[in-house]
Amino acid sequence: MSQHPAIEVSGLVRQFGDDAALNDVSFQVEAGELYGIIGPDGSGKTTLFRILVTLLLPDAGTARVLNRDVVRDLWDLRRRVGYMPGRFSLYPDLSVAENLGFFASLFGTTVEAARETIAPIWVQLEAFAGRRAGALSGGMKQKLALCCALVHRPEILFLDEPTTGVDAVSRREFWELLARLRGEGLPILVSTPYMDEASQCDRVSLIQNGKLLVTDRPEEIGRRYPRALLAISGGNILGLLGALRRFPHVAAVWPFGEALHYTDGREAVPVATIEAELRAYVEQVGLSGVTIRPIPATIEDAFMWYMAEKAA
């Protein structure tokens, strides 16, 4: 493996009219890393990807991929990167095998030459080799697109929202494939709006409104959550939500599946004290059967915290 980082982004800016799609974005992806860009629609993920794969010019800042400048060295880079755009962009009326063959020929190679690279994905696709791409399920379409992005044996992979609109089971299978590719040393930059997918990455950046909110290993982002966080559940969840929003020390309270996640507004108050105060409070307002326990923050908790902080 080479010594230089797989991706180096510094002060990247891109405007569309008056809107900054990217606003001073900097991060670095090391060789062999599976790196996630996590954020909702419209946060700037696709603009970032398009700049990194040389399809769009930045207004300011620099980006290097495989130690090559994305503006000056674009022709050299284009042969070396694999790119799977967010929108399904294979030919729906060509078969699975024909699509793959077509993309191989565009890069002056053959499917045979890439057999080993695509093998883990191809075993899942082979049974549908003759089927038109347009007739595949959402999950299978994404696997075919991944296959096509790999067929010229790229040195780095860019996957823009490969799991959007794909059901929970297919999403899981797709991430299993990415883990295998990463195991072979291929650096991968992947974007997703699903916060729970962050834990599959070595490191992630959370992005909102064209700005990176935070960058770290996923477990560290949870650990760095700046306040006490408690899960509160039981009884009438709407009544509970209303009552907690009126608690004097509340910073935020949001539904998280079957529980509410409560963030206290105070720094440096022991969580046991907060827990006891909350217990007394819910009793005082007449709510019974309520469970309260301190919990570690998830990526989604962190995203919401930093998002609210940036907005304030």
Binding site: G139, V169, W254
Partner: protein
Amino acid sequence: MSEYAIEAQQLSRRFGKFTAVDAISFQVRPGEVFGFLGANGAGKTTAIRMLIGLLAPTSGSARVAGYDILTQAEQVRRRIGYMSQRFSLYEDLTVRENITLYGGIYGVSDQDIVRRTEEILGRIGLSEPASRELVRDIPLGWKQQLAFCVALLHRPGVVFLDEPTGGVDPITRRRFWELIYETAAAGTSVLVTTHYLDEAEYCNRISIMVNGAIAAMGAPAEVRTRFGAETLDQVFLRLTRPGTAA
């Protein structure tokens, strides 16, 4: 008259030899939030298209908002709201123009359109200048909340939401669910599909479709208990992992 907002009995739809929806039966009560879950291709969209009167069933029947989907499809369509993940609003019309257009289509009186426009803007917190912007220029989170309110413009008894929160940021996602709760509390039944299984927990009851049939149904906690699972994610995986090839 049916006491249910939705009542499906043995509802089926075949396309050639393929059975997309296989004899599903379920009821949704007035004011209930019903989560309609399933993997891609499980048959959710086909079932919804039948329930909103856009596709005739091959066999079975359903009553929606008190009317038979087969013989009274027009009455059904008047009394339901529908919001899909995309293409719900006209991107090249302003927020206000969209509300006026849909109000007209649904046959809401001019007076009511004016009143309800202000109600909607207040409800989702859209400012006066923002309301005069083209829909394509407002953030996705607002678009989705607006599309939801537009689907309720004619005060339907039942509203169908097809993946309303896909790709939306986590705070807006939760605001959206608060809109759903408010709507249900006011008596409108909500049938909603989602790929976020935490959102399934916010429903009064859920169903999980597998290969066209309903494989599990009940309150989220009941379903979890029945499968001995801690999360709905585990239930979902157990039900859908076999046979998810294509």
